[in-house]
Amino acid sequence: MTCELTQTVLHGYLDGELDAARAADFERHLISCGACVAALETHESLRSSLLHARLYERAPKALRQKIQAQLGPPGRSSVVPVRNAVPWRWLAIAATVLVAVSIGWLAVSLLNGSRGEYAMASAIVDAHLRSLQPGHLEDVQSTDQHTVKPWFDGKLDFAPPVHDFANQKFPLQGGRLDVVRGRTVAVLVYARRKHLINVFIWPTTEPDSEPHSGSQLGYHWIDWRKGGMEMYAVSDVAPDDLTELQQLLAQ
């Protein structure tokens, strides 16, 4: 049993690339076409295998360092090779943060008296970048909130709220401990399509706050407080996606 559509429209449907009318047409076609139903299941199975095999390979640290070295510290015209790579790299990133975030942004944050917040955002973006290095992302790797939540027990003096949002297309990937500005925090890792989102959580005595967002080095972050917890979500996903996750987490 074959059908021409398994070679064409079925893939547009699978990839969410059909407009509403064509998608509806194809869904009507599926009711009467066994070949397309079977092919769709097979392709979905293949997609899920590809997704779960962790085939994505992130840039090695050395590559990042080499490029940063070629780029040189901002504001210099000559290319300075970086020798002591590790400390220099963070200096370079710190310097980059200063330039990348425009003076206007800085002025606004200073006017708001939020110098500490600016430093905190830098620390969070740094921690996010660190986590993307191979082997640094998760200490407990699980999509099951009932595995991730107990993992934090005894490792922290607070219990972070752990929820999986797979149904909302933010599947939980795992969790880890991290240190941000000297304090141990819980981190939950979520995925959005191929992007990773780190959510940093620690207790606070400050009152609840509205979400507050910004971006550094091309990474977006949202910060808010709710129910005695401060949370920072950071990622390279679109700001709208990050806001969507923030709303789920703040529920």
Binding site: T6, E44, Y56, S77, R193
Partner: protein, 191 residues
């Protein structure tokens, strides 16, 4: 590439451009490396080519007038990979889209799930695919690119992306469910 050439390239960018490059392009370094890793034949080569491509992007950065920075960078990465492949005689134009177009009965999801439940096997199957098939699969399934982005990156009309993916997926299924001769030999040796 000599330091002199890079030096010149960088001299034309002022610090503001460089900061913009770091902000817009560098976050996609993982994507650049992942694509070169899957298009080339080893992590070391992939690292070299991803580096070359990123520095080339830096040189061309004046010509980037906003828009999708990831697609723009990946287009440069892909071109750099193809140049490398041609230089190292890996690309054979006859392995491009010459797949038969007639539909084939599909493999059952169960069979495929079993075959696909193995990272090594999936990796090997992907690596066996002709590069033109591999690139659309990597861009779509690993990188999550839209058809429009895939069309930009691979320089094909958007209308052909869907059929390219159809053929690539069919081919991958076939490689996965029909073990190559060497896999059978390996199994034989194990016995």
């Amino acid at each position: 590439m000599s330091d002199g050439v890079e030096g010149k390239a960088l001299d034309v960018l002022d610090s503001q451009d460089r900061a913009r490059f770091e902000q817009l392009v560098l976050p996609h370094l993982d994507a650049a490396f992942n694509l070169s890793r899957w298009l080339l034949h080893g992590r070391a080569d992939a690292e070299d080519v991803a580096q070359e491509a990123t520095l080339r992007a830096l040189r061309f950065f004046r010509g980037f007038h906003g828009g999708d920075a990831r697609a723009w960078l990946l287009q440069i990465v892909r071109n750099t990979c193809y140049t490398w492949l041609e230089k190292n005689r890996y690309v054979n134009s006859s392995t491009e889209f010459d797949e038969e177009l007639h539909p084939q009965p599909s493999v059952s999801p169960e069979t495929l799930a079993i075959a696909g439940d193995n990272r090594e096997r999936l990796t090997r199957a992907l690596e066996e695919l002709p590069v033109r098939f591999r690139e659309v699969l990597i861009l779509r399934e690993l990188e999550g690119c839209s058809y429009k982005e895939i069309a930009t990156i691979t320089s094909v009309p958007i209308g052909t992306v869907m059929s390219a993916l159809a053929r690539a997926r069919q081919r991958l299924q076939r490689v996965l469910t029909q073990p190559a001769a060497h896999q059978k030999e390996e199994a034989g040796r194990d016995l």
